[in-house]
């Protein structure tokens, strides 16, 4: 059914070809469509122009410090959990020029920032990722000062959520109440339905623009059968989480145990490599660097991702406040799971499991959070 | 003597001391004046007395050879000068110099030590007052050692 706007929240059925049509409609509306792609043995986010770009038939096997791809026995386009990249790669880019300044006769002049980035359409946003984007919106848009660069990227963002049909080995979105079903924050939400006879998507619109675009695609109202099928998939995912995190009293326990011996236990293993902060979809810390060309006439200031695991991060007056790995790990964990509540009213963690998967020594945030302040210190 | 006892008991250092002990202490006391620049005692001398400062300021200093003296503490009105008289070998480890005209009561060390030995109650009352002084000076010295105002090293 096409024609005038379809209702927000109502469920429709979209055939596989409809997904291709969706990509094309977005492209003609000026969106740069980004989605999952297979690259270097991982599923990352890159430009998508056709369905053939998607990692059909691939899934990921994840555990603490382990990630590998494996073939599925079907051709699911979204049959994996999450890869090493998150959408912050596009919304809060790893490096960005803040300004360029040129010396003038009596001082210097600052040139405005680079022109605004293209409109991004994200295809394949997981529920945990929607939650992460909402969390970063709160940090970067709702404070006393607005990150105008992030704001311009987000204001033109089109999000197509895809509910997880497979739970990841390190996933715990159920514990963090962020998934596996996308509840809000999307323009469109899909659930991939694969049966011996059909490969289609249950789709619902979350916004007016989502409904407008959906109205241009070949949809039919979803039958109760399809809806039940989608619900079953989501229930199955929810029942197969790779990890759990008991959040009861977690904030208070972490904040009350800042000198617990267990911090030294994890510090003995932590390399302070910062992988966790790079793959984490909510970590927002950045640093600025000032450069000048050899002639000293032009200066630039760039902003880049930073990590609280670096020694420089807390440098003042001739030394780092957090010199020991233990205090740096403590900073990361207490910020993510405790202080974030005081600062922004939510947890900083969405249960995506990336930090567990991509830690070279397999440190598991769910295990460490449980250990701090516990009796025996082991889990 | 009676006036000296009143002066001694009125000094903040002896606040709360039972009046019966006043004559014992006053019996070791002398009223003194120093002019600005005058030394109360010098490093190496026997610690024969300690001083209740009634008015004025006293600088405690040490002079490293070949360098100007370093003043590391000052004591002023209401303070005391001298704790070495309590600890063998009863010798001053620094110089004490009046930086302003100073009026003080000096208390003879031998006299007081003997009386404290004979009357342990008096001895305990004295130590009860000296220990916080010594402890405070140790804390202060550590804080000075941290050199908190210095330029950062790196």
């Amino acid at each position: 059914m096409t024609g005038s706007e379809l209702s927000i929240g109502c469920k429709y059925l979209l055939p596989l070809a409809g997904l291709q049509a969706l990509i094309e409609v977005l492209a003609t509306r000026g969106y740069l469509v980004l989605g999952p792609a297979l690259r270097d043995g991982a599923i990352i986010y890159d430009e998508i122009t056709t369905l053939a770009d998607l990692p059909a038939g691939w899934t990921d096997q994840q555990d603490a410090g382990r990630y590998q791809l494996a073939r599925r026995d079907d051709n699911a386009l979204f049959g994996y959990a999450v890869g090493p990249q998150s959408w912050k790669k596009f919304l809060l880019p790893p490096t960005e020029t803040i300004f360029t300044a040129h010396r003038t006769a009596d001082g210097f002049a600052i040139a405005e920032r680079a022109p605004p980035p293209p409109k991004f359409a994200f295809l394949g946003v997981r529920a945990c990722e929607l939650a992460a984007i909402a969390i970063q919106d709160k940090v970067l848009l709702n404070g006393p000062y607005t990150d105008t660069s992030y704001q311009s990227r987000r204001s033109k963002n089109f999000l197509i959520a895809v509910n997880c049909g497979t739970a990841g080995g390190t996933c715990f979105c159920v514990s963090m109440q962020t998934g596996p079903a996308a509840q809000s924050g999307f323009d469109l939400a899909l659930t991939e339905l694969i049966t011996p006879g059909a490969h289609e998507f249950l789709v619902t619109a979350g916004t007016r623009e989502g409904a407008e675009i959906l109205a241009t695609l070949p949809t039919q109202p979803a039958t109760p059968n399809h809806i039940a099928q989608a619900d079953a998939i989501i229930a199955h995912t929810a029942a197969n989480m790779g990890r759990t995190l008991d959040t009861t009293g977690l904030k208070d326990r972490l904040q009350a145990n800042l000198t617990a011996p267990q911090w030294d236990d994890v510090a003995a293993r932590c390399l302070s490599c910062g992988n966790c902060t790079m793959v984490c979809p909510t970590c927002f810390c950045t640093s600025v660097e000032d450069h000048s060309d050899l002639s000293g006439q032009t200066a630039t200031r760039t902003r880049r991702w930073d990590s609280c695991f670096t020694l420089d991060f807390s440098y003042i007056h001739g030394g780092s406040v957090r010199a020991e790995p233990a205090s740096r790990y403590r900073q990361w964990l207490t910020h993510k799971l405790a202080n974030w509540w005081d600062q922004f009213g939510t947890s900083g963690c969405t249960g995506c499991g990336r930090c567990v998967t991509w830690c070279p020594v397999g440190i598991d945030i769910t295990a460490e959070a449980a250990a701090i302040g516990s009796e025996n210190g082991n889990t | 003597m009676e006036t000296l006892e009143r002066i001694v008991m009125a000094h903040p250092f002896f606040a709360g001391l039972e009046s019966e002990l006043g004559p014992l202490i006053a019996g070791c006391a002398k009223n003194l004046r120093f002019t600005a620049g005058q030394y109360l005692f010098r490093s190496g001398e026997p610690a024969n007395e300690f001083y209740l400062i009634r008015e004025g300021t006293v600088a405690l200093e040490i002079q490293p050879p070949g360098q100007p003296p370093v003043v590391y503490a000052t004591e002023t009105t209401g303070d005391i000068v001298g704790t070495s008289w309590l600890v063998p070998p009863y010798r001053w480890n620094f110089d004490a110099r009046a930086t302003t005209p100073v009026r003080a009561i000096s208390l003879d060390a031998t006299c007081l030590r003997n009386k404290c030995e004979a009357d342990h109650h008096l001895g305990y009352e004295m130590l009860k007052r000296f220990l916080p002084e010594i402890s405070q000076r140790l804390d202060d010295a550590r804080l000075q050692m941290l050199d908190v105002y210095a330029r950062p090293k790196r």
Partner: protein, 274 residues
């Protein structure tokens, strides 16, 4: 919406060397007026091609025509700022941060406690208090430095000394005999004040250790911890709450501080490497 990461150009109109490594700059904007500031706030000063540093404003909040910053040369950026010649253009973002509780403490006795360069962020509060003297009770300044050559704003200290309704007590960690004042640590001066625990507010600024010991001494004299205010420092990058660097527990120094009520930060200050 204007980009809060972009500095505004300011010209240095004067540079005065205060101490061997400390300079006071006076700045004026290239366009427009100096934004109003509260005592205790800071600006991010940008040296072309070198970088930005957080520097407390140390001028008079009642004088909107002069912007004063006192800078200690401790690294590449502060050295570049401190060595700036009059006529040079710097970049500026701000003012940022929380303020000393000058308004909230009206009617009370005020004790200012400064250590070393800590007198610079306190000076706007001291000036405000003295300019509105009738609104406050006893006003006392305790100031400590390493040695007499480290005493900042000597001329102003001498002027404050002449005021009949202000008590100034200065001490240094050590001195040579030409110094006739106090020698000893700042906390040592506190028991002698005879402060009124029920009607006093203390504002303390200096090295963190000195602030902690001073706060303890104030507390030992009966002052409740919530009447003591300190100014904290951590690594500062964006100063606008977006980069995460300045976090101290759950607080961002740039927007929840730098001025904090001591009871709210004392437990965290006791934890190493927080």
């Amino acid at each position: 919406m204007s980009d809060p990461f972009l500095p505004t150009p300011y010209r240095v109109t004067s540079a005065r060397q205060e101490l061997s490594d400390v300079t006071t700059l006076e700045l004026t904007p290239e366009h427009g007026a100096i934004p109003a500031f509260q005592p205790g706030q800071f600006n991010m000063l940008y040296a072309f091609g070198v970088g930005e540093a957080a520097i407390s404003i140390s001028g008079d909040p009642a004088d909107p025509t002069r912007l004063i910053h006192t800078i200690r040369s401790v690294g590449a950026v502060s050295a570049a700022l401190a060595n700036t010649q009059p006529g040079t253009t710097l970049g500026l973002r701000g003012p940022y941060g929380t303020a000393w509780p000058c308004a909230a403490s009206e009617g009370q006795d005020i004790i200012f406690i400064a250590g070393g360069l800590g007198l610079a962020p306190l000076r706007p509060a001291i000036r405000h208090t003295l300019a509105n003297r009738a609104r406050y009770g006893r006003v006392t300044l305790l100031y400590g430095a390493r040695d007499p050559s480290g005493l900042l704003y000597r001329t102003e200290l001498e002027h404050w000394r002449t005021l009949l309704d202000v008590d100034i007590h200065i001490t240094v960690d050590h001195a040579d005999p030409s110094w006739h004042g106090n020698v000893g640590v700042v906390p040592r001066l506190i028991p002698r004040l005879g402060l009124d625990p029920l009607n006093t507010t203390a504002m303390v600024c200096g090295p963190e250790i000195m602030m902690r010991y001073s706060a303890t001494a104030l507390h030992d004299s009966g002052l409740p911890l919530e009447r003591i205010h300190v100014s904290l420092e951590r690594n500062m990058k964006c100063a606008i709450g977006l980069c995460g660097h300045c976090q101290f527990g759950a607080d961002f120094i740039c927007k929840d501080g730098p001025v904090f009520r001591y009871d709210l930060v004392a437990p965290r200050l006791a934890i190493r490497e927080l």
